[in-house]
C-alpha cells in the first residue's frame, strides 16, 4: 500500500542527488572539513611561563623592583639573585611605586615571563633560608629533599616554577605543568592558552561547537539546502507533470508529504556528512568525543524542515522557486526580529532583577540582585528602590554588603561587568554607606533615613525606582582579584584568588568630614595604606578557583580549592587564620563550587558533581547526594535552629536537606520552580526570592505567605510580559532550537551567561529544550496540514 509513496520518497532523494549543487556543496564541505582537520591542541608538559601566567603585571613588577633594591621578601630577593645582572640593574633603576612610568622602558607581561623563564634553569634558586615555606608544601617537598644536582632538567624547571609561585603567589597564576596551544598541523598558533583542559573543553563544547554548528552549519547548510530543494515542490506541481501524477491511484496529501520528506532526505545526507566530519575532527584533534555533536544531526534537519515547510507551502500555492526562497528569507527575518526583541529584553527584565541574596540590616530587608543592585522595598510605591547610588545599568556585581553594627555602616564592593560577562571592571575602593542610628526607620518597609540618605522623598513611582536612598562614600582600597567579601563575627574578610585578607580597622582612617564638599565635590575617604592585611599563614596559598563559607559561629572559614576542603580557624588573639585540617575531594579541582556550613556539617556543591556532606566533628565525608534532574546548585544556606540546609537550584526548585539523614524534601510554596534565593529567619520562616523580582516571607510549616513584596511592573516589564514574550511563544522559533543544541552539547539544561563557569551563584538561563521543539513541530504540522488541505481542494 505504501509502495507508491516510498517510490516518491526515493525519487525525491534521487532528484536532489541529481542536483549539481549537492555535489558542489559536498565538495565545498569536504574542503572545509579537510582544512579544519589539522586544527588541534598542542600540549607540552612544561613549567615555562607565558604572558598569560602573569596575573597582576604591575604588582609583580613592583615586587621585583623592590627585591632588586634589596627590599621585600626573601623569596623575591632569591629570585633576583638568579636573574642576569643587566635585568636586575634595569629593575633597580625603576620607581618602586610605578615601575612602568614614562621615564623607563615599558616592561610587558610577555617580557616578564621571558625574564622569569631564565630562572627556571638555575640550580641555585632554592635555598632553605630563602624559601622556608617550601618544606611545608607537599608538592615541592619531594623535589627539595633530593640534591639539586640529581634533578633532571624538567624536574629542576618544575621546582623553580613552584618556587617562583611561592615568591609571587598572587602575581602569577598557579602552574599547571602543561602548556596548551591551538595548533595547526602540529604548529603552535600564538601564545599558549591560559586555560586548563576542563575549561577548554567547556568553552569548546558550550561556545565554539555551538557557534560552528549554529552559524557555520545551521544557517549556511540550511539556507543552501533550501535553495537547492526549493524547486522540487513547484516542479512537481507544474501542470505537465502534475496531471500525470494525479492520474495515478495515489493520495494528494501523501504525494505532497512524501515529496516533502524526500527533499529532507537530501539535507539529512549533507548534514550527516558535515556533522560526522566535525565530530571526528573534534574527537581526534581535541580529544573531545562528544556524542551530543552527532545528536545535532536530527536537530539541524528539524531546523531545515521548519524552513522547508514554509518553502513547500509557498511552492504549491505560487509554483515558483524564487518566491519560495524569498518567503523563507522573510520568515527567517521575522523569526529573528521576534527572537532578538525578546532576547534584548530578557537579561534586563528576567535575569538582572532576580534577587540573589537577602540581607537583614537591623529591621530593614535589603536585596542584592543579579544585575548588581542593592535594593530596598519602597512601601509607598510598591517598588524596589536602589539603596545606594551605584549605577551599573543592570550589569554588575555586588560583594557584600556587610553591616557594621558598631559604626552603623554598610560595607560593600560594587563592580561593573564587561558586555560579554567575562571580565569584571573591578572597583578599587570599598563602598561605605553610613547609616545614622538616631534616625532609624521604625517600620520594615518605610523608607529609611540616614545621614547619607538623599534628602527628598521620591515624588513619583519612576523617581522611586531610580533615586537611590543612600549616598556611598569611597572607602579604603580593596585587594586585587577579590572574589568574596565576608563577615566573620566582628571581622571583615576579603577572599582573593591567592589568599585571605582581613580588614584592619586600625589602619582605616575614615575622613570625619565626609559630608564636606570640596569645590562642590565630595572628596574620597582616604584610608591608610593597604588596610586589608593577609590573614592566612605565609605557607598557605589558595588556587584561582576558590569558594568559601563561614561557619555560623563566625570563627571557622571553609575554603574549597584544588579539590581540597580546608577548614581555617580564626584566632582572635593573633588575628590570623590557622589551617585546622584539610579534606581531599575527588574532581579536577577547578570546578566552580558553593559551600555552606553549620555547626555540624559542611556542604560542598560543585559544578556537575554530587553534593558532598562533611561531618565536621568526625572530619570525614558523611554522604554524597545528587539533586533531582541532575540540577546544579545556585544557593545553599544553613537553616537557623536546625541542622538542615536550604538548597535552591538553577532550575528554580527549593529543597530542604536534612544533613543527618541525607533526605531531601521539596519546600512547598505557591511559586513552583521560580525561586532565586532564600534567607531563613528561623527554622520555619524564610524570605524567598521569586522570579523575576518578587520577595515573599513564607512560613514553610504552615504554608502561609506572611508578606508578598511584588513590585509594580515597569513599562518595559509590561511590554515584555504582555507583548514581546507572548509573541515570541506564539511565533515559530527555529533559532530557539539553539537551546536544545546547547543541551545536547553540554548535557546541561541551564546555560551560564559567562564564558566559563567560575561562580555557581550566577544566574543562568534555563534552556528551553522541549518548548521550541514542541512549538516548532506544531508549526510544521500546521504548515503541512494547510498544504495538504490546499492540495485536496485545489483544482489544477
Amino acid at each position: 500500500m505504501m509502495r507508491p509513496y516510498l517510490a516518491i520518497l526515493v525519487d525525491s532523494y534521487w532528484e536532489a542527488v541529481g542536483n549539481r549543487v549537492l555535489w558542489a556543496l559536498l565538495v565545498c564541505w569536504s574542503i572545509v572539513i579537510v582544512s579544519l582537520a589539522p586544527f588541534g591542541l598542542v600540549i607540552e608538559q612544561s613549567f615555562e611561563l607565558s604572558s598569560r601566567d602573569v596575573q597582576n603585571r604591575d604588582a609583580l613588577l613592583q615586587k621585583m623592583v623592590r627585591a632588586a633594591k634589596g627590599q621585600g621578601t626573601q623569596t623575591a630577593k632569591a629570585v633576583m639573585r638568579c636573574l642576569p645582572s643587566d635585568v636586575v640593574e634595569d629593575l633597580r633603576k625603576r620607581n618602586s611605586d610605578s615601575p612602568n612610568d614614562q621615564n623607563s622602558r615599558r616592561i610587558s607581561s610577555s617580557r616578564i615571563a621571558t625574564i622569569l623563564n631564565d630562572v627556571l634553569d638555575q640550580p641555585e634558586l632554592y635555598s632553605k633560608e630563602s624559601f622556608p615555606a617550601a618544606e611545608l608544601r607537599s608538592n615541592i617537598k619531594p623535589l627539595i629533599e633530593r640534591p639539586t644536582s640529581s634533578l633532571g632538567r624538567e624536574e629542576l624547571r618544575e621546582l623553580n616554577r613552584k618556587l617562583l609561585q611561592l615568591a609571587f603567589p598572587s602575581e602569577l597564576h598557579t602552574p599547571r605543568g602543561e602548556l596548551i596551544w591551538i595548533g595547526y598541523a602540529g604548529l603552535k598558533i600564538g601564545e599558549p592558552l591560559g586555560l586548563d583542559r576542563r575549561f577548554l573543553r567547556e568553552i569548546i563544547e558550550s561556545r565554539v561547537l555551538t557557534i560552528i554548528i549554529k552559524l557555520g552549519l545551521g544557517m549556511a547548510t540550511v539556507f543552501v539546502a533550501i535553495v537547492v530543494t526549493s524547486p522540487m515542490i513547484p516542479d512537481t506541481f507544474k501542470s505537465g507533470s502534475l496531471h500525470l501524477l494525479l492520474s495515478k491511484p495515489i493520495s494528494r496529501p501523501l504525494l505532497y508529504l512524501f515529496k516533502f520528506f524526500g527533499g529532507s532526505v537530501f539535507v539529512l545526507i549533507n548534514i550527516t556528512f558535515l556533522i560526522v566530519g566535525l565530530f571526528l575532527i573534534v574527537g581526534w584533534r581535541f580529544g573531545i568525543w562528544n556524542p551530543g555533536v552527532l545528536a545535532c544531526i536530527p536537530l539541524l534537519l528539524f531546523v531545515f524542515i521548519i524552513f522547508y515547510s514554509v518553502s513547500a507551502l509557498v511552492g504549491i500555492i505560487w509554483g515558483n522557486s524564487v518566491i519560495c526562497v524569498v518567503a523563507c528569507l522573510v520568515f527567517w527575518l521575522f523569526c529573528t526580529v521576534i527572537g532578538a526583541l525578546r532576547g534584548g529584553f530578557l537579561p534586563a527584565v528576567e535575569i538582572a532583577p532576580q534577587i540573589v541574596r537577602f540581607h537583614q540590616v537591623e529591621d530593614q530587608l535589603l536585596t542584592v540582585t543579579q544585575g548588581g543592585s542593592l535594593n530596598i522595598w519602597n512601601k509607598q510605591y510598591s517598588v524596589w528602590q536602589p539603596a545606594v547610588d551605584i549605577d551599573r545599568m543592570h550589569n554588575g556585581r555586588i560583594l557584600g554588603p556587610i553591616f557594621d553594627h558598631q559604626r552603623q555602616q554598610l560595607l560593600l564592593r560594587a563592580d561593573e561587568r564587561a558586555p560579554f560577562g567575562m571580565f569584571w571592571a573591578a572597583s578599587r575602593k570599598m563602598s561605605i554607606v553610613t547609616l545614622q542610628s538616631d534616625n532609624e526607620p521604625t517600620s520594615n518597609h518605610a523608607a529609611p533615613a540616614s545621614s547619607a540618605s538623599t534628602s527628598s522623598v521620591p515624588k513619583s513611582i519612576e523617581e522611586a525606582r531610580e533615586k537611590s536612598l543612600w549616598l556611598v562614600d569611597a572607602g579604603p582600597e580593596l585587594p586585587g582579584l577579590m572574589i568574596d567579601f565576608l563577615q566573620m563575627g566582628d571581622e571583615v574578610v576579603a577572599v582573593t584568588r591567592s589568599e585571605i585578607r582581613r580588614l584592619d580597622r586600625t589602619k582605616v582612617e575614615l575622613a570625619e568630614a565626609s559630608e564636606k564638599l570640596f569645590f562642590g565635590f565630595r572628596p574620597p575617604v582616604v584610608g591608610a595604606a593597604d588596610p586589608f592585611v593577609v590573614a592566612t599563614p605565609s605557607d598557605y596559598t589558595i588556587d584561582e578557583t576558590v569558594s568559601v563559607a563561614v561557619a555560623p559561629n563566625g570563627q571557622q572559614l571553609f575554603v574549597y580549592h584544588s579539590s581540597s576542603l580546608d577548614v581555617l580557624t580564626f584566632s582572635t588573639k593573633t588575628k590570623m587564620f590557622d589551617v585546622t585540617y584539610k579534606l581531599k575531594l575527588d574532581g579536577e579541582g577547578s570546578e566552580a563550587a558553593i559551600l555552606a556550613a553549620n555547626d555540624e556539617f559542611c556542604l560542598v556543591a560543585r559544578d556537575g558533581l554530587p553534593i558532598k556532606v562533611f561531618d565536621l566533628e568526625l572530619n570525614e565525608l558523611h554522604s554524597a547526594l545528587r539533586l533531582p534532574q541532575e540540577a546544579d546548585v545556585r544557593q545553599i544556606t544553613s537553616i537557623p535552629g536546625s541542622s538542615d540546609f536550604s538548597i535552591i537550584t538553577h532550575l528554580g526548585d527549593w529543597y530542604r536537606l536534612s544533613s543527618k539523614t541525607g533526605q531531601m524534601t521539596i519546600v512547598s510554596h505557591p511559586w513552583g520552580n521560580q525561586c532565586t534565593a532564600a534567607m531563613w529567619i528561623d527554622a520555619d520562616r524564610a524570605w524567598l526570592g521569586v522570579k523575576p523580582n518578587r520577595a515573599v516571607l513564607i512560613n514553610v510549616a504552615s504554608g502561609k505567605v506572611e508578606q508578598n513584596l511584588a513590585p509594580v511592573p515597569t513599562r518595559m516589564d509590561s511590554f515584555y510580559r504582555w507583548f514581546a514574550n507572548p509573541l515570541y511563544y506564539v511565533n515559530p522559533k527555529p533559532a530557539a532550537l539553539d537551546a536544545a543544541m546547547s543541551y545536547l552539547l553540554t548535557g546541561k539544561d541551564t546555560q551560564s551567561l559567562e564564558l566559563i563557569t567560575t561562580d555557581l551563584k550566577t544566574a543562568r538561563i534555563e534552556l528551553e529544550v522541549w518548548q521550541p521543539i514542541i512549538s516548532n513541530s506544531l508549526f510544521v504540522i500546521v504548515m503541512l496540514a494547510i498544504g495538504c488541505i490546499y492540495l485536496v481542494r485545489k483544482e489544477f
Binding site: 509502495r3 534521487w14 532528484e15 542536483n19 512537481t236 501542470s239 496531471h243 500525470l244 495515478k248 491511484p249
Partner: protein, 336 residues
C-alpha cells in the same frame, strides 16, 4: 449492468463551472450538460476547438477536478475514484518528465505509482521501451529526448499497468508527420489489444484515421457523436453533395459555363482547371455534365465528393460561433 458490461466511459449531464476571483467572482461554464458513452474496445475521438471543454472533461474523468453537477463513471467506477484510476492509462498534454529521470527510471517511478510489482515492472518496462521504439535510448535523460520520443515514452508509461482504458490528451500535438504516424500505429496496436482509447485532439485527420467513433464538443456542448460517416450523415443538411470535375477549357468557355450553374474554379497545372459544383440530385448531376459537354469541354476527371470530417467539424463549429449560441463568450479563456 455489471462492471464488465458497463461502458468504458459513461458521462451524464456533466456540468462544470469555473469560478475566479476573490471578491467579484466570475463564473465560466466549461461543460454544459454533456452526455457521453464510450464503448469498451473502441477508439473514441473527442473533437473540439480550443476552449471547447475537452481537457476539462478529461480532468473530471481523472478526478483532477470535480464536476459541478452530473455523473461520470469509468469502467463502472465513479470517475476520479482510486479504483477507476487503477485501470486508466493517461497521456497528458504537454507531458513533462522530471529532469533527473532517464527513460527507464521514469517508467520505474511511474509504474510504482501505479502499484505495479517490481518484478513485473522490470519486464514490462523492457517490453514497452521496445514497443515504442526507444530501445537503446532508455538510459538517456528524458530532457535530452525529442518531443516525439517523450510522447512515445508517455504512451509507454500509460501502458505500464496494462490499463483497460487509455486517455490521451492531444497525443500528436507538436509532432512531425513521422512522429504522428508512430503514435497512430501505437493507437492501432492498443485497439488490437482490445483496449479502449479515448482520444482528445483537434487534429481532425488523425482522428478520422484512427477513431471508431467521434464526438464534437463545442463550448461545453456536445454537438454530435458517432462514426465519422454517421456524423457526416447526421450533418448532411449542412453539407450538400458536391461534384468535382477536372476539365481543360478556355476562359471564354469557363465564363459560359458559369452562367449555366453555380461553380467554384481552381486552376491546375498544364492549363487544366478544377471546378466544384453543388448537386443534390442525380438530374442535377446529369444537367451539369450535359452543359459541360455541350460547350465542347473535355472532362478529364469526375468525382462525387463526400464531406470530410474537417468540413463537418468546421460547419458545426461555424454554426456554434454564430451569435444565437447561448454560451458565455468569456469561457474561452477558462477552458483549455
Amino acid at each position: 449492468m455489471t462492471a464488465f458490461d458497463s461502458p468504458a466511459i459513461d458521462v451524464r449531464q456533466l456540468r462544470k463551472t469555473y469560478r475566479e476571483g476573490w471578491f467579484f467572482r466570475r463564473s465560466f461554464a466549461a461543460l454544459q450538460g454533456v452526455d457521453l458513452k464510450v464503448r469498451r474496445g473502441e477508439v473514441f475521438g473527442l473533437l473540439g476547438p480550443n476552449g471547447a471543454g475537452k481537457t476539462t472533461l478529461i480532468k473530471i474523468l481523472l478526478g483532477i477536478i470535480r464536476a459541478s453537477s452530473g455523473d461520470a463513471h469509468l469502467l463502472g467506477q465513479p470517475a476520479g475514484s482510486k479504483a477507476a484510476r487503477m485501470r486508466i492509462g493517461y497521456l497528458p498534454e504537454n507531458l513533462n518528465f522530471p529532469s533527473h529521470h532517464t527513460g527507464m527510471r521514469a517508467l520505474h517511478f511511474l509504474g510504482r505509482l501505479s502499484n505495479v510489482d517490481s518484478h513485473l515492472l522490470r519486464s514490462r518496462s523492457q517490453e514497452l521501451i521496445e514497443l515504442v521504439g526507444l530501445k537503446g535510448r532508455e538510459q538517456e535523460l528524458v530532457r535530452k529526448y525529442s518531443k516525439g520520443m517523450r510522447q512515445r515514452l508517455g504512451i509507454a508509461q500509460a501502458m505500464l499497468h496494462d490499463p483497460d482504458l487509455m486517455i490521451m490528451d492531444e497525443p500528436t500535438d507538436g509532432l512531425d508527420p513521422i512522429g504522428r504516424s508512430q503514435i497512430r500505429q501505437l493507437i492501432t496496436y492498443l485497439k488490437h489489444q482490445g483496449k479502449t482509447v479515448f482520444l482528445n485532439s483537434h487534429i481532425l485527420q488523425e482522428v478520422e484515421l484512427v477513431c471508431d467513433r467521434v464526438a464534437i464538443l463545442v463550448r461545453g456542448n456536445l454537438r454530435g457523436i458517432g462514426t465519422p460517416h454517421e456524423l457526416t450523415e447526421q450533418l448532411h443538411g449542412a453539407l450538400e453533395m458536391r461534384l468535382m470535375i477536372e476539365i481543360e477549357c478556355t476562359a471564354e468557355q469557363l465564363n459560359q459555363l458559369s452562367t449555366c450553374f453555380e461553380l467554384s474554379c481552381e486552376p491546375l497545372p498544364d492549363g487544366r482547371r478544377k471546378i466544384v459544383a453543388t448537386a443534390t440530385t442525380q438530374s442535377q448531376v446529369d444537367h451539369i455534365i450535359d452543359r459541360v459537354r455541350q460547350l465542347g469541354i473535355s472532362i478529364l476527371r469526375l468525382e462525387k465528393i463526400r464531406p470530410s470530417l474537417e468540413e463537418v467539424f468546421l460547419s458545426v463549429v461555424g454554426n456554434a460561433e454564430s451569435p444565437h449560441v447561448a454560451v458565455d463568450a468569456s469561457a474561452d479563456s477558462a477552458v483549455s
